[in-house]
């Protein structure tokens, strides 16, 4: 039985979280390949529709990573994101997907290790929760399931 490898989408703001991700890379810190990063100018750009769409397209988990509260490059973008994440969590909960599959994190551009830590944390959390409920009725064959997931991940990072 293969170990379940979740697909986790991270919406990262350019000024902090994405830069932190870069730093993690420069520092050669290890973080799971399960996390696919989407760069935004600001987490305030995230819309609830995006947060739901990633789950429709096959993500098992997602998170929004923005600047530390009070330090948003665009002043309040991360506060808007926080509220939208809260609402999206509720919608996911009501839809039977599970609100805990979506989270909001804050970090500064200097926090490379924190970026890696969050990536590990979320991946493990989603791994424990198991695949997204929308997949449980899909037919699986060992190698074709793996290929399907790879394709979906590419699709998400290109489209959203």
């Amino acid at each position: 039985m293969e170990k379940f490898e979740p697909i986790v989408i991270a919406f990262c703001c350019h000024y902090c979280a994405y830069t932190a991700a870069d730093l993690a890379g420069t520092m050669r810190l290890q973080y799971p390949y399960n996390v696919r990063i989407i760069r935004l100018p600001c987490t305030g750009k995230v819309d609830i529709r995006h947060l739901l769409e990633v789950f429709e397209k096959g993500a098992d988990g997602a998170y929004v990573a923005g600047c530390l509260e009070g330090d948003c490059h665009f002043l309040k973008g991360n506060f808007r994101a926080k509220k939208r994440v809260a609402l999206a969590k509720q919608i996911l909960e009501d839809a039977g997907i599970g609100g805990e599959r979506l989270e909001m994190y804050n970090m500064s551009a200097a926090m490379g290790p924190r970026f890696a830590e969050v990536a590990r944390e979320m991946t493990e959390k989603i791994r424990k929760l198991g695949p997204s409920p929308i997949k449980k009725n899909a037919e699986r064959k060992a190698h074709s399931a793996e290929r399907k997931e790879e394709q979906t991940a590419e699709h998400i990072t290109q489209k959203v």
Partner: protein
């Protein structure tokens, strides 16, 4: 504008259980302004319903459409083009729009995706409050432009009652006492003498109490 609140997703899922395809119809009128049933909310709801049904193992196909208004026949035409392919319509318009769709698309069960609440205003972004009860007999000239029917919890015409405290209503400290507002406004306008007049008994027959209402302008009828 008319303010509505989205129904809980679980309630909507129960309504659409029997269908594997559905139209989700929004309206660019009032429900867009109060962020309950516009194009964006249609998108969010359709996505949530698809996710939920996928998780249940009973996939749902949705058709998203947002009409200019659902309360005027001409604006329903875009719906006519798509309606035959779907067994039911879930509408996020106000109660009037939902019912009008039901009248015009007689073969389709109409499901309300929202609870229509009141006639109100945008106090600030994200906050809408009630102002008018459509009582059919406006007395705003006598109460400084503040409605005793809608803004007093007891719809008193000669208030306030003894429960008014600190300008707030006895039912909720977050709710303004309508009559305190009226008093303050008339004072500002230098019209406190209006409060010495006893407002007479209301003709509620002009309200919904008299039966469903109708307005006609003969000169406009073709």
């Amino acid at each position: 504008m008319i303010i509505a609140e989205g129904k809980p997703i679980k309630e909507i899922l129960a309504m659409i259980e029997a269908y594997d395809k559905i139209i989700v119809a929004g309206c660019k009128g009032c429900v867009t302004v109060c962020s309950t049933g516009g194009e964006k909310e249609v998108g969010i709801l359709a996505s949530a319903l698809r996710l939920a049904r996928q998780a249940q193992g009973k996939p749902l196909e949705t058709k998203e459409i947002t009409l200019e208004r659902q309360c005027d026949t001409e604006y329903l035409e875009p719906m006519r083009e798509i309606v035959d392919a779907y067994p039911a319509i879930l509408s996020l318009a106000c109660g009037a729009g939902i019912q009008f769709l039901a009248e015009k698309f007689r073969k389709h069960p109409l499901l309300p995706g929202v609870d229509t609440q009141f006639i109100g205003v945008t106090e600030e972004q994200g906050v809408w409050t009630e102002r008018c009860q459509a009582c059919g007999n406006c007395v705003l000239d006598r109460t400084g432009g503040i409605c005793p029917v809608a803004r007093c919890s007891k719809s008193l015409f000669n208030g306030p009652c003894g429960g008014s405290k600190g300008g707030k209503c006895e039912i909720d400290s977050q709710v303004d006492c309508g009559w305190q507002l009226i008093y303050d406004r008339l004072k500002e306008l230098g019209q406190l003498d209006k409060l010495e007049i006893i407002l007479p008994v209301k003709d509620w027959s002009k309200n919904r109490d008299g039966g469903p209402r109708k307005r006609v302008r003969e000169d406009l009828k073709i």
